[in-house]
């Protein structure tokens, strides 16, 4: 691999640069890529600036740079006249010059197989073989805009699909596109987005992740054993040696890419979102290269308070903090580069650049992020990235320093080829002149800047005073338009006297040796007249370089964790907490004990002291007098879909146990906080019910304020979602979804038998291969199926009708494992005896029914009857709203079937812990168990019960008093930022109309990442 890399990075470029003669039509045009650029300010590199220096360029390459270099006499001289030379910036994340990818449009009929011909990967969103080099064309307007932003090089790629293909390094010139190609296959590109592919799989982000992992494993196998060609896998293998760039759309995707990188031992450069500061100190240890945008959000137009209240705090916070992101990353020592993404115009780009600099970023770091860092990432630092000897003369010339001022791009140099963008005057006209027009003497004062002069004309005249009748001197004056190009001057003004116009349009030539203008023009009557001017006094004031921005003081850099409503100012930590005089629902043999004291320490329940026994209060402990209050174990929601990002169902195939909810857990779902307010401390995040074998579950604690990986319960048992019935046979999916196997309950059984049989055969081939055979490729789906059939991965199966429940138990019995949990299980009461015999548990709704045909026999007595039959029964939510009042749902089991309060309470605490095999650490109030505790105002099963505190691992993550304070603080914070936005709007910053992002909530049958019209089913 190292050799391949060496070849790619060193030999390849020369093969392109060393150009062979090409027959031309007529004599070839002479090259103009050798010259001397003099008297310029040179931003040589991030750490070096040369004032008033010269650059010698021969055949497009820099030969010498410095102050007072000896100027060779065989080269043309270009006088820079104090302009500023900036090395060409390098854009790594663009599709400039490439055709837009268009899908074939939405088709209501699902497409399960690839339509691509030829030896390519089976999934159309994996197309690493795409090399867009021969599609590159000149997009003049896009290039102009990039040039004005300072960019001279770009790696352009087609931003489509998951394995997108490679990018081509091009120079951003506008001549023949063939001449712009510097290096094909410069970097490989990836994303989690399926793109234009119409194939049903994948339909979720976790599906994209699984698919990419599978493809990478397939490539590894192909490398070793592949006998038939596969262009896609060949390309993936070649790309291992290339810089790999992974684009993301939210801040947590960054962590998902990291996980894939770790699994395959490679480093992806991640295209971030500008929200990186929200992750806080995570970057201190990551050493994660990034490509980030500097497209900061515009202020909202919030004059209407009814509109203002709709803007979530997260958006307000991001508006304020986004400009601190580059400075934050620089301070965190993250190697990063800047992409133009999100800035449509150069004006926007520089405005945002100045904003970032004002918010604490340094020019040096900015220049680094635009030049040397991207050059190093691509391995082209010997040729590009700074203005130094032996590098290509790729730089841009501005009329002033673009990092400090609103500079104008004047010239671009692409490998020494000069393009004049604006022809600026090379003399400074400013000064005081005597102006003679047709014999009348005027005064002309030219001010402004050298590049943009402004004029003022005065005439002193004797007039008749109408009051006194005497003559007096009066001064008339007018602003004059001054334009100076190609040594010609144009002056135009109107000296008004009362209502009388005196209009002059003058044109003349400029003699800069003696500072005389001379020419002709027209007066207000349209007659041609002669004019001249002579400078009496030159401009004395030194052109002052005033930055258009200044460093802001007291910049707020503090995000919330998470950066939204009810986020914490700091990541929560566990405390020692003492609940005194409390009634404890232990869920243990002691039952409900009153007047007890419970102490938590280091995230665990340290001791439970009954009665008035004394104890010592550890230092720093928080003592809560809980007299009259009830303390319980935290509620565990066996069936939840909160905190899941970009799709809860991978419905593209009948079996999708290769996908993992754990890959897409998100830490910014407000429903996590809301559920904490209802006493929920842990949950099984389940895949949806779109297919017989769904994805792997994530067992989480509701660690609001932490990162997604901290939500995942360490060493948790492995679980997978299964589903039966109407959803898996697509009964309610409309008339087009009638082709995926299975479409009946009959087919569902065979999906299982087929899957398990294949898993066993696969495992046999892997561990005990027949002689002379190649081992099978690692198959993520079969790996998981094998775990299931061996009982190592437990099943939670969505189910309603007794026939299918019975079927799955038979299938499991025949393969020798047990179905751990039936969820929903609304007809469980009909087969409770069989479930008991099989050893299955049940997790059900308290009273839902009537939402589809298969639940017409659902009865609210179900939980009670299964419990009476000796089955471990839990009550779950499957719904973010119900999830926060599972205590009430448990209470319904008392109403419907009359079980005891203690047993009902266990149905939302200990029983789900048992079903999830977490009862050794959760589910009851017992010394040594996790300090996942809830303090209630009264009996938790009462309709009047409210949560006072919710603890997870000893951290107080909900506190009713603090919650009330937080609401007030949030209002104040909103008001502060809204006022600041209003000021920004007044200060001329553009504002945008309000658009409020919303988050949906998932249920079992939610299909896809994006809009669809599926009904809400469970």
């Amino acid at each position: 691999m190292q050799i391949l890399r060496f070849l790619l990075l060193t030999l390849f470029p020369f093969a392109v640069f060393g150009q062979l003669p090409v027959p031309t039509n007529g004599s070839p045009l002479p090259k103009n890529n050798s010259f001397v650029l003099t008297e310029v300010r040179i931003l040589v590199s991030p750490t070096k600036v040369i004032e008033n220096g010269d650059i010698i360029v021969r055949d497009g390459k820099i030969v010498e740079v410095g102050k007072s270099v000896s100027i060779p006499n065989d080269l043309p001289i270009i006088n820079g006249n104090g302009k500023v030379v900036v090395p060409a910036f390098i854009e790594l994340n663009t599709s400039v010059g490439l055709p837009e990818i268009k899908g074939s449009g939405w088709d209501p009929s699902p497409q399960y197989e690839s339509k691509k011909k030829g030896p390519y990967y089976w999934n159309e969103s994996i197309h690493p073989e795409i090399d867009p080099t021969d599609l590159y064309n000149i997009d003049a307007s896009a290039i102009d805009e990039l040039n004005k932003m300072g960019f001279g090089l770009a790696v352009t790629h087609q931003n489509d699909g998951i394995a997108q293909g490679t990018g081509t390094l091009v120079t951003l010139g506008k001549t023949d596109p063939r001449l712009q190609i510097v290096q094909p296959n410069t970097a490989a590109f990836f994303s989690f987005r399926k793109g234009a592919s119409n194939q049903s799989y994948p339909s979720s982000q976790m599906g994209s992740i699984a698919l990419l992992r599978q493809a990478l494993y397939d490539a590894q196998w192909h490398q070793q054993y592949g006998k038939t060609p596969n262009y896609s896998l060949d390309a993936l293998n070649k790309q291992v040696a290339l810089p790999s760039i992974f684009s993301t759309t939210d801040v947590y995707e960054l962590l998902r890419v990291r996980a894939i990188g770790k699994e395959f031992n490679r480093t992806f450069t991640i295209v971030g979102t500008g929200h990186e500061y929200e992750l806080g100190n995570v970057f201190d240890t990551l050493n994660q290269p990034l490509i980030i945008p500097i497209a900061f959000p515009e202020a909202y137009d919030l004059k209407d308070p009814f509109i203002a209240r709709q803007i979530p705090l997260s958006d307000l916070k991001h508006w304020e903090l986004a400009p601190t992101n580059p400075a934050f990353l620089a301070k965190s020592k993250v190697p990063f580069v800047i992409t133009t993404q999100g800035n449509k115009t150069a004006a926007d780009f520089w405005k945002n650049m100045h904003k970032a600099l004002a918010h604490g970023w340094s020019v040096e770091d900015a220049l680094r992020a635009l030049t040397t860092t991207p050059a190093e990432m691509l391995g082209i630092q010997k040729e590009f990235g700074s203005i130094e000897t032996d590098k290509w003369a790729s730089f841009n010339v501005f009329d002033s320093d673009p990092f400090l001022q609103d500079a104008k791009l004047v010239e671009t140099y692409v490998k020494g080829e000069r393009t004049i963008v604006v022809d600026l005057p090379d003399a400074d006209l400013r000064g005081k002149y005597s102006l003679n027009i047709d014999g009348t003497k005027y005064f002309l004062d030219i001010t402004g800047t050298a590049q943009r002069p402004e004029g003022k004309v005065k005439l002193v005249k004797s007039v008749n005073d109408p009051v006194t009748g005497t003559q007096k001197m009066d001064t008339l004056s007018a602003d004059a338009y001054v334009n100076y190009t190609d040594n010609d001057i144009v002056l135009q003004f109107n000296l008004k006297e009362g209502t009388t116009s005196n209009h002059f349009s003058l044109k003349g030539i400029v003699n800069t040796r003696v500072w005389i203008f001379e020419g002709t023009g027209t007066n207000t009557s349209g007659n041609w007249i002669k004019w001249s001017a002579i400078r009496n006094k030159s401009n004395e004031e030194q052109a002052e370089i005033k930055p258009v921005w200044k460093p802001l003081e007291n910049v707020n850099t503090q995000p919330l964790y998470p950066n939204m409503a009810y986020g914490y100012a700091e990541r929560p930590v566990s405390n020692t907490i003492i609940f005194e005089n409390v009634t404890v629902w232990t869920n243990e043999a002691e039952g409900i004990i009153s007047n007890a004291t419970v102490i938590t320490e280091n995230g665990k329940i340290k001791s439970i002291i009954r009665g008035s026994s004394s104890y010592t209060v550890p230092a720093g402990a928080k003592v809560i007098n809980a007299e009259g209050k009830h303390l319980t174990a935290g509620i565990i929601d066996e069936h939840s879909h909160i905190a899941i990002s970009k799709g809860v169902n991978e419905g593209g195939q009948a079996i999708s146990c290769e996908v993992r909810i754990g890959d897409v857990v998100t830490a910014d779902d407000i429903n996590v906080y809301r559920q904490l307010s209802g006493g929920v401390t842990a949950a099984q995040l389940l895949h949806g019910s779109a297919n017989p074998v769904g994805g792997q579950s994530a067992l989480i604690k509701l660690k609001w304020g932490h990162l997604p990986q901290d939500y995942l319960i360490k060493n948790a048992p492995k679980f997978v979602k299964f589903a039966l019935g109407e959803n898996v046979k697509q009964a309610n999916w409309g008339d087009f979804n009638t082709t995926r196997f299975p479409q009946t309950r009959m087919g569902v059984e065979q999906v299982y038998i087929d899957g398990f049989s294949r898993a066993l055969a696969y495992h046999e081939a892997l561990t005990n291969p027949a002689k002379g055979t190649t081992p099978p490729a690692r198959d993520l789906e079969l790996d998981a199926l094998y775990e299931i059939v061996k009982g190592e991965r437990k099943i939670t199966c969505h189910s309603y009708i007794q026939s299918e429940i019975n079927m799955l138990m038979h299938v499991a019995d025949s393969f020798g494992f047990t179905v751990n949990t039936f969820t929903h299980i609304l007809e469980g009461y009909k087969v409770a005896d069989k479930m008991k015999a099989h050893g299955a548990g049940a997790s059900t709704f308290s009273d839902w029914w009537a939402y589809k045909y298969e639940v017409k026999d659902a009865v609210p007595f179900n939980a009670s009857l299964m419990h009476q039959m000796g089955i471990v029964v839990a009550i779950n939510s499957d719904d973010a709203e119900m999830g926060r009042r599972l205590n009430q749902e448990a209470a319904k089991v008392i109403k419907y079937g009359g079980i005891s309060e203690e047993e009902a309470w266990k149905m939302v605490t200990l029983n789900p812990a048992k079903l999830l095999h977490l009862d050794d650490r959760m589910g009851s109030v017992k010394e040594g168990k996790d300090a996942d505790l809830v303090l209630w105002t009264t009996n938790p099963l009462s309709v009047e019960a409210k949560v006072l505190y919710t603890l997870v691992d000893g951290e107080i993550l909900f506190d009713r008093t603090a919650d009330f304070e937080a609401q007030k603080a949030m209002e104040a914070e909103r008001a502060r930022i809204i006022a600041k936005m209003a000021d920004a709007g007044k200060g001329g910053e553009p504002t945008k109309p309000f658009v409020k992002k919303r988050r949906g909530s998932y249920h079992c049958n939610t299909v896809g990442e994006e809009a669809s019209t599926e009904a809400n089913e469970h």
Binding site: A832, A850, K852, L865, K892, K895
Partner: protein
């Protein structure tokens, strides 16, 4: 309903409680229950007498003596709670059976302005869902159409009946107007697209104004004029029908107030009114009642108090606005049986127990315009009432022992409890 039902329920009543029973119950006395009158009053030990289908006596049992022989039936309800039948307004209950089965849905007619479409026509008296709602104490419902800008007319119905004529309490009680959204979001519920200003808000509002202008000036007396839409609207202007305006957001609510004033609507009711707590002074001044959104729903905005919706009854009560509860939303038909627990939640978040009872009984009846005959246990009203073994607003203790609609007893079992006992018997489980 006729005698047949009474005969049918004998067994259940007897098995459940200690009842003195006469074969032909013409007069019934319910004694010693805690009587939650519905108007805020409570008799710790009450006495409620029913003759034919009317309540004739409501007294404190301790301060009233009566002659046993005057009553056919005397039921001792010591330790139990007696409530007026709970009311579930604004629901498709009775118009749908299985949401996912299109053939069973009868609540959304084609068209934008459908004031002439009447919900009671599709009301399914034999709905299995009705039987499960009744047994939690929900005895009256406002069966309500959905869709379009004007969905049609609702009717107040009993949750048990032989047919819609038999079951109707108030026919075509009002027209339902869905106020256009001032903020708009597309997408779907799992992946909503961003919310933004509805650019067509003014236009959509205008379409309502012009429809109402035309309806108001429409003169059906004029020879040769036929317009059943406008004809159906007439009752909104003369006050014989209510106008239920479905709106949540504060901008909408303020515009609704203007609209109501402009057309001099006699009985406007706001349905939903998520933001109504922000304008209680105006609502109080204009005496416009609100049917609050389903209390068991998530806050609209991330930054809203996590329990904002739970607090709405208290906030309106404190602001002096008349309100009641309803349950529109996901699975609203089957969920109608949870109305009492919404009231329980209202109690947990600030209402007194009797205020909580009132917002699913008398207040709802007043808002629906049926308070003269039902909604409370008062002399002269129809005997539509419910006895629970414990507090009916708490899930644990809501246990029906007597269900009576229009003076007739109804079974306290339903097909769900029947299935339960059937399988219990199969497994050999006993009580």
């Amino acid at each position: 309903m006729k005698q047949a039902i009474i005969v049918f329920i004998f067994g259940v009543i007897f098995s459940g409680m200690n009842v003195t029973w006469a074969q032909k119950a013409k007069s019934i006395l319910l004694e010693n229950a805690t009587v939650h009158v519905g108007n805020g009053q409570v008799f710790e030990q009450g006495l409620v007498g029913i003759k034919d289908n009317k309540i004739v006596i409501v007294r404190n049992a301790l301060a009233y003596t009566y002659k046993k022989e005057e009553w056919d039936t005397i039921i001792d309800l010591s330790g139990q709670h007696l409530y007026p039948g709970f009311i579930s307004p604004n629901t498709t209950l009775g118009l749908t059976e299985i949401e996912a089965v299109r053939a069973s849905n009868d609540f959304n007619e084609v068209g934008i302005f459908n004031p002439h479409v009447r919900a009671l026509i599709a009301y399914n008296c034999e709905s299995d869902i009705l039987s499960t709602v009744r047994t939690n104490g929900v005895l009256l419902t406002q069966t309500t159409p959905r869709g379009g800008i004007i969905s049609g007319a609702s009717s107040v119905m009993q949750t048990a009946c032989w047919n819609w004529e038999d079951g109707v309490v108030r026919e075509d009680d009002g027209i339902h107007l869905n106020w256009p959204a001032s903020l708009q979001g597309g997408g779907w519920w799992a992946e909503p697209s961003p919310k933004k200003r509805n650019e067509k808000y003014a236009e959509e509002k205008q379409s309502i104004y012009s429809f109402f202008e035309q309806a108001k000036t429409f003169n059906s007396e004029k020879a040769g004029t036929v317009d059943i839409r406008f004809a159906a609207m007439k009752a909104c202007f003369n006050g014989t029908k209510r106008l239920y305006i479905h709106a949540d957001e504060v901008q909408q609510l303020l515009d609704v107030l203007d609209f109501v004033a402009h057309f001099e609507i006699q009985f406007p009711v706001i349905v939903g009114g998520y933001d109504s707590y922000m304008i209680t002074e105006k609502l109080k001044e204009k005496k416009i009642p609100v049917m609050l959104p389903r209390l068991h729903s998530l806050p609209e905005m991330d930054g809203d108090a996590v329990d904002l919706v739970y607090q709405l009854p208290y906030l309106l009560q404190a602001g002096g606005v008349k309100f009641c509860l309803q349950n529109e939303g996901d699975m609203e038909a089957m969920n109608a049986r949870n109305i009492p627990f919404l009231a329980g939640t209202a109690k947990a978040y600030g209402l007194s127990e009797e205020e909580a009872v009132r917002c699913i009984t008398l207040s709802a009846a007043e808002i629906l315009g049926i308070e003269k005959s039902v909604g409370s246990i008062e002399e002269g009203k129809v005997a539509t009432l419910f006895v629970s073994k414990g507090n009916a607003l708490d899930m644990r203790t809501n246990q029906a022992s007597v269900i009576m609609i229009d003076g007739e007893f109804l079974p306290t079992n339903n097909f769900q409890s029947d299935l339960y006992y059937k399988y219990k018997k199969k497994y050999g489980l006993t009580e």
